[in-house]
Symmetry: C2
Subunit: 328 residues, 2 copies
């Protein structure tokens, strides 16, 4: 397709045509010729959607909660998209299956868009694909774009930062590991949700969370971090969750924090995508034969992995102590 | 410290002096002058330890299981080290606290070494630190080095590949998210453990796992993937777990698979460390001012994050289409 054809597709997407949105996201994801030109127009057209990150421990029922939230926000007349950053492998096709199951509730609804981004066994980077998909839906006039991620892993925590508002989902009665994850996630959370709140221990989990938040200096920003109880399966607490999300957006706007968040999101996007581009260069076939040599040397213990990695990196990277003007 | 002093420290570490091991690991981690020279000696001295990866869903009780395994292996006369790659933040000091709690059981035991690597808020890369810590313990003559990681996230899955033998820990009765993680982990698992097997549903979880493994082509390698039931808290199944680990090592040796695994481990180590070195170059202050400019341009929607990332990467990276001989 020509750049002009992609521009036409963007116009149709902006007119609310869902299949055009899908094609544009797929085209950008697989870097089809002509798409890099349309990307600037996509970004120029955006900036209105409320981007919400929803993250938390596996087993907290995030998918189910997001599905319920989708219904709640649709009931309020919003068009809602979900980008699920899914750590499943290509082995089981989990991501595609997940989309189908989740779309069943909203299959005929033109105001709903759901897409999974599997993080393994795929071409290109998942961060780039996620960032661009959010931008397409924003440009297409979607009111809310939810980015659902698993709340563990360094790359996964970075991608959460592209959201304006981040909700962290916990669940009562999981083990000690969860506490560690919560600690890593605390810093990025604007709203805390204890899901499966009909289970024993929900109030204690909520109280512990509130306690952790009180001890941290996260409340100093002026936004009071809510800790909400939900039961996704029967809709309990969903109106309050939707209200909290809307309340946070209103606060971002009135406090001027929105401008700072846009910068944080831009920085996180650039960093995540740059990381992916660099990895690609290392995996380039032109570098491959040298890589195999280095692997042999390390496996035979003739050198150490750090020295080998440095040789590889020096191969693709310029030394950082050059004059920045000249380097960049 | 001079390179000679680090070499002396390595000699003391090889003589079984635990504080020297700690100092060497810390020195390598913080890249103290003279440590890069000693690293080659560290790697040359290693190659005997059985490196075991233990990973799985948060809440599966990995820490507790590793602690119980430590006791079991100590009972068999082995010296055992645990490197816990911990995703907690610097906010709560979870990692250090975790070490203290876990060390209580083995505090006076000179054949036990436990260390946590927090993945956030730290200098240098956690992959490099983990790879080097394993190498130091190997060089110091430790029989078994357990690398405990959380089984989610792309970087976290990569680091698992440095192990000779990987055990995946599951737990009965967690949600659908777990299935997706299992799928991502299935490919790297040599031994499956269903922990908390006194809970309802343990047999079903084990049967489901066995079913998933039967459907996959992972059994084609010649190693029959065991699915074990454990209760870490009372020691149930721990002897069988230790036997399975020893059995896998024996199989690796007799089948010749060990040589291939050493190459996979070397490749994973180099890739993970190269990634960290590249990220450092992007975060270099010399690149920083240009980064801020790009963030402004993206936040103002004058450009898109991918174009910005490409400018940044072109600043530190050479084009990959150069003659590889010349480039590398």
């Amino acid at each position: 397709m020509s750049a002009a054809a992609w521009t036409e597709l963007l116009e149709r997407a902006r007119g609310g045509h869902v299949p055009s949105i899908s094609r544009l996201i797929s085209g950008l994801e697989s870097r089809q010729p002509g798409t890099s030109e349309v990307l600037t127009d996509v970004y120029a057209a955006g900036g209105r959607a409320h981007v919400i990150g929803i993250t938390g421990s596996p087993g907290a029922g995030k998918s189910c909660l997001v599905n319920a939230l989708l219904g709640e926000l649709r009931g309020r007349g919003m068009r809602v998209a979900v980008i699920a950053v899914d750590p499943s492998s290509s082995l089981t096709g989990g991501a595609i299956l997940g989309d189908r199951i989740r779309m069943q509730d909203h299959a005929l609804d033109q105001g709903v868009f759901v897409r999974s981004m599997a993080t393994r066994g795929r071409l290109g980077g998942v961060s780039r694909a996620t960032v661009d998909a959010v931008a397409v839906l924003d440009a297409a006039g979607w009111d809310t774009v939810i980015v659902e991620t698993i709340g563990v892993g360094q790359d996964e925590l970075e991608i959460v930062r592209i959201a304006h508002t981040t909700a962290i989902v916990s669940v009562p009665g999981l083990g000690d590991d969860i506490q560690a994850i919560k600690a890593g996630l605390l810093e990025v959370g604007d709203i805390h949700v204890v899901n499966k709140a009909d289970r024993p221990g929900a109030d204690r989990t909520a109280a512990e969370l509130t306690g952790m938040l009180m001890l941290s200096d996260l409340r100093a920003s002026g936004w009071t971090l809510p800790v909400l109880l939900t039961v996704a399966l029967d809709g309990t607490g969903l109106p309050e969750f939707a209200d909290a999300l809307a309340g946070h957006l209103a606060w971002l706007r009135s406090s001027g924090e929105l401008v700072r968040r846009e910068r944080v999101a831009a920085a996180a996007s650039i960093r995540a995508i740059a990381k992916e581009l660099l990895i690609e260069r290392i995996q380039d076939p032109a570098v491959g034969s040298r890589f195999d040599e280095l692997v042999e040397a390390v496996a035979a213990r003739r050198t150490d992995p750090t020295s080998a990695a440095r040789i590889l990196v020096d191969g693709v990277a310029r030394p950082s102590d050059l004059n920045p003007e000249k380097t960049l």
